[in-house]
Symmetry: C2
Subunit: 222 residues, 2 copies
Amino acid sequence: MKRQAGEGRGSTLNETLCDEIRRLLVDGALTPGQRLSESALSEQLGVSRNTLREAFRTLAHEGLVTHAPNRGVFVTTPDMASIVDIYRLRRFIECRALSAAWPSHPAVREMRAAVEEARTCREQRNWQAVGSANMAFHGAIVALADSARLDVFFRQISAELRLAFGLMSDKEWLHGPYVEMNQQVLETFEAGDTTAAVALLEQYLAQSERTVLAAWARQAAP
Amino acid sequence: MKRQAGEGRGSTLNETLCDEIRRLLVDGALTPGQRLSESALSEQLGVSRNTLREAFRTLAHEGLVTHAPNRGVFVTTPDMASIVDIYRLRRFIECRALSAAWPSHPAVREMRAAVEEARTCREQRNWQAVGSANMAFHGAIVALADSARLDVFFRQISAELRLAFGLMSDKEWLHGPYVEMNQQVLETFEAGDTTAAVALLEQYLAQSERTVLAAWARQAAP
DNA sequence: TCGTCACTTATTGTTCAACAATACAAGCGC
DNA sequence: GCGCTTGTATTGTTGAACAATAAGTGACGA
């Protein structure tokens, strides 16, 4: 839906609020499993309880927080099943999007930009930013499929995955190795060898899944 | 996430309310483009404005209603781009889910049940119910992929598509022919010829898309 | 006659305060 | 130690209030 019935561009505090909380979640300021008290958080953020509750509804639908009726809202704790599910979806979506892609699709430009961004951030050892750039790369891959709905769905999944990333301490190991791999995927794809690029991507995702799962298990053991 | 931090099963009016409004939307009691006044609707449904607004956030995130800041909430009007996008996604998701399916997956049982249901509803000429059963069939196909997140995503898309269905008058023509086609897909798949089943499914979706688009254009012309 | 401007009005955005309903914790009897 | 009742804090839901915005209205001037 392009410009449904107006869709005027007002700031609408609620939007701002959602963004703010999302940032808190992705930055790790709020740790998974933590309960988010309505009164406390509304006071801290300077909004009313009702407004906060509206934001919670949006975030809950995005999977970032979990609403337990009559008990409260919690930062979603990624469990193993979620991680497996998310990676299965990523393989499902990304590989197919890449394999059916039009070689000179505008999104390829974004892929390139993301790789560049990741490289410069890596030089500055800003691993959080490297993670963002890597995600942008994969978002661009999904964009190859030319579906607006798929794009927002993938953004959602990415945010949820970042929640899991937040559980781990060694960000360098978590994001660093994939800069090269992304670049390799891109170069292979641009060279015209789509099937090889897809194979690389599949390998990338498998390795990433293993890393995340291992770190999750290590962390969740005690 | 299976049972995140409790997730107790209270009715929580809000849930009920969302279901109620969804039903109104899918049944066509609320027509696309219509503005939903907060005060009017809250009074009509016997809930407070705040509660209704919370429900609106959920429904807006599902794409069933469109929120225009400072202007109000409108029943989403499906445009041509949305229909095309949704069908592209359905081809993307359903075909791949079916082609990679484990032949004795539990969801096959659901597929069979949906076909049965559709047949009986067709005999009673209850086309609305036929539409529901057909959708359940395709939901079962998606379930073959074994991804919880993909399931909810597809449910969302289905609801949005039903909004478009609501624009058309001839429900028999809209839902009737596909009962046979679904059955054919199922039988071919159960016979073990997966590739043929996928081809049939693809054909199904293409024909359905043409029908919907044509009806949409016919309706939107004046 | 037409367009522009300020003004009016209705609706949404947001807050506040209150009460009901529920879940958790503590204390009690056994 | 175990089940039960009681208390308390938090969420669920409501109603009213006010600010902010958008649409409609009508006067005014070219």
